[in-house]
Each structure stands twice: as structure tokens, then as C-alpha cells.
């Protein structure tokens, strides 16, 4: 044993003194087997040119990269397939172009079944999913769940009543993003509830949309609401209509509608960008009661300033639970609240650990 160690020691000291350079090829971890990591260190040689080559199917070495640094890591992701073995060669040249040294390496690319870097994300996913599902089931079994008042929603009844009294329509905008945004879906859910009230009072509803997929969904939602309210004949299919996909083109159109139709109440519920303030200010000038809600942090200030009622961030998503008092929705909300509680506790622990210069928790959570 000792002999081997001495041999190894000698071997390594020879390596050190004989200006050896390091060249290794490794499978890239946590990927689908489509990349190889090449590591090299030729700083002892200070070569003028470093060429990395890979053997092709015919056995020829082809240059894949001129490396400009003496040491580093290069990721070869060009035409690498899982399960195949690749041969690499690294050659060092001096200023005149003579080969100083050369090394080769061999490696098989592999695909992994689990990305170990995402373990913290997985844990959070499981905790949140479990919490939400648990509370949904416990709500279903009849457990009473409390939900605090959402002041932004008190306007709904008032708005519909006012519109009916004045004989003016109600305008609803489900945001300016497509159906692939949760805020749009949250907006449409609220639209369902609102349309039901509108149908009961027999008031006119206007829903201009700027995405065609939202158009078809909004139509179904409104139609169903009229059906539920027992007033299907009052449903006007043209009350939901498309203007244009263009952000400001849409705003120009909606502004025109607001000015001409003078809706008694405007609802802006969904995802909004810069158009938020244009809509809200035009609506104000027409004397409408305005309710807005969005989860876009950058647009909330404008809604808060220019509208009568605002659903801030998560309140938009909580709104449908609040309106329907449906145990499933309330349960899910309770699960989200547990998420917040966990957040507050973990964050506090994290800050305390950081104060004592312990970084484990932060590092673990920043992995993914």
C-alpha cells in the first residue's frame, strides 16, 4: 500500500514538474444527455493556440473550438446524443505553429432522470400542493372556512344597481393578455358572477376583448351566466366582441366606447400594461364607478390612484372565492394562506441565519 502511495506521489510530482496540462471530459449533470463538459488547464505552457477536436463517426478528429483562455470549462452541446461515446483531443501549439503537447479523453453522454439542483423547488411544490388539496378536501367535508372582507368587491352590487337605475350599460374588460395568463382567467371567473347579476337586473353588458381566444371563452361564460340567472333570452351574443390584438389600438377603441356609451360602471379585471391609466382616466371623466384589479405590480399604482375600488394582487384571485363562497375555492385560498405562513416563517429563519452568517438555507433555496 505504502509503495503504491509513494509511486503515486512520485508520479504526481513528476507530473507537476514536467509541465503537465489537465484535460478532462465529463458528462454534464442534470441534463438530457445532450452536452459534455470539457475542462482544461494549460497555464504552465502558455500556448499561443489551443485547439479542441472531436472524433466524428468516420474516426477523423475535427476542430470544434479554438479556446482563447489557458484554463476553463467549455460546454459542447453540438450534436451530442445520450448513450453515445465521444472522443476528444486537445492540442497546444506555440507561436510558430508547432505542436507542444496533446491529450485525449473519452466520455459517454448520459441523460438523468432527476434534476438534483431542483430539489428545493420540488419540496416547495409538494408542500404547497398538499396544503391546497388538503384544505380543499377539508372544506368539502363541511368545515366552515372564514374569509376576510375584500373591500374592492363591495362595489359590485352597487354598480349593477346604479347602472340599472340610470339605464346605462356596464363595461367589463378582462385584461389585455391572452388566455394563457391566470389573471385573464380570474377576470373571466368574476365576469361570470357579474354577468349573472346583470342578467337578473336586465342591464346591458359590454365586454370588448383584445384576444380571440378570450373572445370565445368570454362568450361562453356570459351565456352560461344568463342561463343560470334564468334569463337566457336577454343574452345578446354581440355584447362580447373583439376589437384588435393591438394594445393601443384596443385602448383607442375602448376609449371611444367609454366616451360614447357612458357606462355607469367600469370593471377592469385582469392583466394590464401601460393602458391601465388611459382607461381609468377616460372612465373617470365619463363619470363611471370604477373597479379595477390586477396582479401586475407595475400597474397597480395607477389603478389605486385613478379607480374607486381596487383589488390588489392576490385579491384578484381571491375574489371568485369571496363571491361564490364555494368550499373548493375557499379551501384553496386557505392552502395559499398556509403558503404565506410558511413563507413568513422560512423568511424569518433565513434572515436570522444570515445575521449569524449561516448561509445553508439561502443556498439551498437558491439552487434551482
Amino acid at each position: 500500500m505504502r509503495r503504491i502511495l509513494i509511486c503515486l506521489f512520485l508520479f504526481y510530482s513528476i507530473l507537476l514538474f514536467s509541465q503537465e496540462f489537465i484535460f478532462t471530459a465529463k458528462d454534464k449533470p442534470n441534463d438530457d444527455g445532450s452536452a459534455i463538459l470539457i475542462e482544461w488547464d494549460a497555464s504552465d505552457y502558455e500556448p499561443d493556440k489551443i485547439i479542441l477536436e472531436r472524433q466524428d463517426t468516420k474516426g477523423n478528429f475535427l476542430e470544434i473550438k479554438k479556446l482563447s483562455d489557458f484554463l476553463g470549462v467549455f460546454e459542447d452541446g453540438n450534436d451530442i446524443n445520450a448513450g453515445k461515446t465521444y472522443f476528444y483531443r486537445l492540442s497546444l501549439y506555440d507561436v510558430v505553429g508547432n505542436l507542444i503537447s496533446q491529450k485525449s479523453a473519452q466520455i459517454t453522454a448520459e441523460a438523468q432522470w432527476f434534476n438534483t439542483e431542483k430539489i428545493s423547488l420540488l419540496i416547495m411544490t409538494i408542500i404547497l400542493t398538499a396544503a391546497i388539496i388538503y384544505f380543499i378536501y377539508s372544506a368539502r367535508s363541511g368545515k366552515e372556512l372564514y374569509i376576510r372582507k375584500i373591500s374592492g368587491l363591495e362595489s359590485m352590487e352597487e354598480s349593477v344597481g346604479r347602472a340599472t337605475e340610470m339605464g346605462r350599460p356596464i363595461l367589463f374588460i378582462p385584461g389585455t393578455l391572452d388566455l394563457d395568463d391566470m389573471q385573464t382567467i380570474a377576470g373571466l371567473t368574476i365576469l361570470g358572477k357579474l354577468a349573472q347579476k346583470v342578467a337578473e337586473y336586465n342591464t346591458k353588458l359590454l365586454v370588448p376583448v383584445c384576444r380571440s381566444m378570450v373572445l370565445s371563452t368570454a362568450k361562453e361564460v356570459v351565456e352560461e351566466a344568463y342561463l343560470k340567472a334564468g334569463n337566457p333570452d336577454a343574452y345578446d351574443p354581440d355584447s362580447v366582441f373583439y376589437l384588435t390584438d393591438d394594445q393601443f389600438g384596443y385602448v383607442a377603441g375602448v376609449d371611444g366606447i367609454i366616451v360614447r356609451e357612458k357606462p355607469a360602471a367600469n370593471f377592469f379585471l385582469g392583466a394590464f400594461y401601460a393602458e391601465s391609466l388611459i382607461l381609468a382616466e377616460t372612465g373617470f371623466a365619463s363619470g363611471s364607478i370604477q373597479t379595477a384589479g390586477t396582479a401586475m405590480p407595475s400597474q397597480l399604482p395607477f389603478f389605486v390612484v385613478a379607480c374607486d375600488y381596487t383589488l390588489i394582487g392576490e385579491e384578484l384571485f381571491a375574489a371568485s372565492a369571496y363571491l361564490s363562497k364555494d368550499p373548493h375555492q375557499l379551501g384553496s385560498l386557505k392552502g395559499q394562506d398556509l403558503g404565506k405562513a410558511i413563507f413568513v416563517i422560512v423568511l424569518l429563519i433565513g434572515v436570522i441565519l444570515e445575521i449569524f452568517n449561516v448561509h445553508i438555507l439561502k443556498d439551498f433555496l437558491s439552487l434551482h
Partner: protein, 231 residues
């Protein structure tokens, strides 16, 4: 069947994508990218639906001479001009049905579609966007009234940041000695933006993030199904 199958599709796809996040192995790793591209194509088809709705509403108005029906002619004309030019002679480097329309480009300088885009569409867009400069002023005048602690905080933060952004704001407090430098208006505005504002925005992001997570889960589990509409 009309409702069950869509719910099953949503459930399967949603769960699959969440699991796929943790599996780099093929075909899971590239799944979400592929599906998002599908979404793009589907929405491409869907856009036709929107256009047809637009055409329907406007022809209806013209046909029955509804209020302001003349304007609908303008809408339809603009729409057909843009689509016609685009499809016939293309835009930028893409060619249309009749190729690149070099003859027309030689007269007006660029392709007709691009001409309308640059000289009409872009100006309309930029002007509509710039209305915000006016509305920000009117909204500020109306709403920034110090009624209670909350509205005072709103008001003070806004005014301090606005002052800090101007050349005048810097001059107002430039006489302050070095030891009170932190009260210099641009510094104050920077402080507000970096700390309390970030905190507020973060709280909103976290809340909204959890809201989105909850909604996604409800949709995947089939609890939230308003997007499917009626029976």
C-alpha cells in the same frame, strides 16, 4: 363527454408539465417548449376568429345603419388595406402572393404595408401611448390628496421621487452639508425606490404568485372550470 374530455386533457397536460420540470431525460425536458409552440400555432388560428367577429360586428352596423355606421366603413377599409397590402406584397423581407412588389416600392420608397405601418400605425401607437403624460398629471392632481395616513404616504412618496428625478430637485437640497447628504433629494428618491418600494412590490409579487399557483392547481384538478363555459 363534451366536458369530461377537456378536463382530462387539462389535468394530464398540467401534471405532466409539472413533473417534467424535474426530469431532464427525454422527452420530458423539451416538453414545455414544444407545448408552448403549439399554443402559438393554436392562437394563430384563433386570431381568425377574432377578425371574423370584428367583420361581423361592423358589417352588421353598416347593414342596419346603426348609430355611427359610417365609421364602420373606415374600420373595414383600414383592415382590408392592411391585410391586402400585407398578403399581396409581403412585409420587410417576407414576400407576398405577388412577390415583393418592386414596382410599387420604387414609387413610394418601401412596401405599401410597411409604409402604412411606419407612417400611420406607428404614429397612432406612439401618440396613444404618450397620452399617459397628460393622464398621469390629471390623475395625480385628483387623487394625491392627504386625507389620512395612507394617502399621505402615497402622496409624499410620489412627490419626493418626482422631485428627485428633476434637475431642480437636486438644486433644492444641494446646499446640505456632506454629513446630511442622505437628505439630498435625489438620494432620498433613490432610497425610497430601493428599499420600501422594493418591499411593497415584493409583497405583491409573492401574494399574486401564490394566487396564480392556487388558480393553476384548481384548474389542473378540475375545480375551477369557468373557462369551459356552459354545458
Amino acid at each position: 363527454m363534451k366536458r369530461k374530455i377537456p378536463l382530462i386533457i387539462t389535468f394530464t397536460v398540467g401534471v405532466l408539465l409539472i413533473i417534467a420540470e424535474f426530469i431532464p431525460h427525454k422527452p420530458f425536458g423539451t416538453l414545455s417548449g414544444e407545448l408552448e409552440e403549439w399554443f402559438l400555432v393554436i392562437s394563430g388560428f384563433a386570431i381568425i376568429l377574432g377578425q371574423l367577429s370584428l367583420l361581423k360586428v361592423n358589417t352588421f352596423k353598416i347593414k342596419y345603419k346603426q348609430k355611427d355606421w359610417q365609421y364602420s366603413i373606415i374600420t373595414l377599409a383600414s383592415f382590408f388595406f392592411m391585410v391586402g397590402f400585407g398578403l399581396l406584397w409581403g412585409t420587410g423581407k417576407s414576400s407576398g402572393i405577388f412577390g415583393h412588389g418592386e414596382v410599387i416600392s420604387a414609387v413610394i420608397g418601401i412596401k405599401p404595408f410597411d409604409y402604412l405601418f411606419q407612417n400611420v400605425y406607428q404614429h397612432l401607437q406612439a401618440t396613444m401611448f404618450s397620452l399617459l403624460a397628460f393622464f398621469i398629471a390629471s390623475a395625480a392632481y385628483r387623487a394625491f390628496i392627504g386625507r389620512n395616513l395612507e394617502s399621505n404616504l402615497l402622496l409624499i412618496a410620489a412627490v419626493l421621487v418626482m422631485l428627485g428625478n428633476t434637475t431642480v430637485g437636486g438644486l433644492l437640497t444641494s446646499w446640505l452639508p456632506e454629513s446630511l447628504n442622505f437628505l439630498h433629494l435625489p438620494k432620498v428618491s433613490e432610497f425610497i425606490m430601493t428599499y420600501p418600494t422594493t418591499a411593497g412590490q415584493r409583497a405583491i409579487m409573492i401574494g399574486a404568485g401564490l394566487g396564480i399557483i392556487g388558480s393553476s392547481l384548481r384548474i389542473i384538478l378540475g375545480i375551477e372550470r369557468s373557462y369551459l363555459g356552459g354545458e
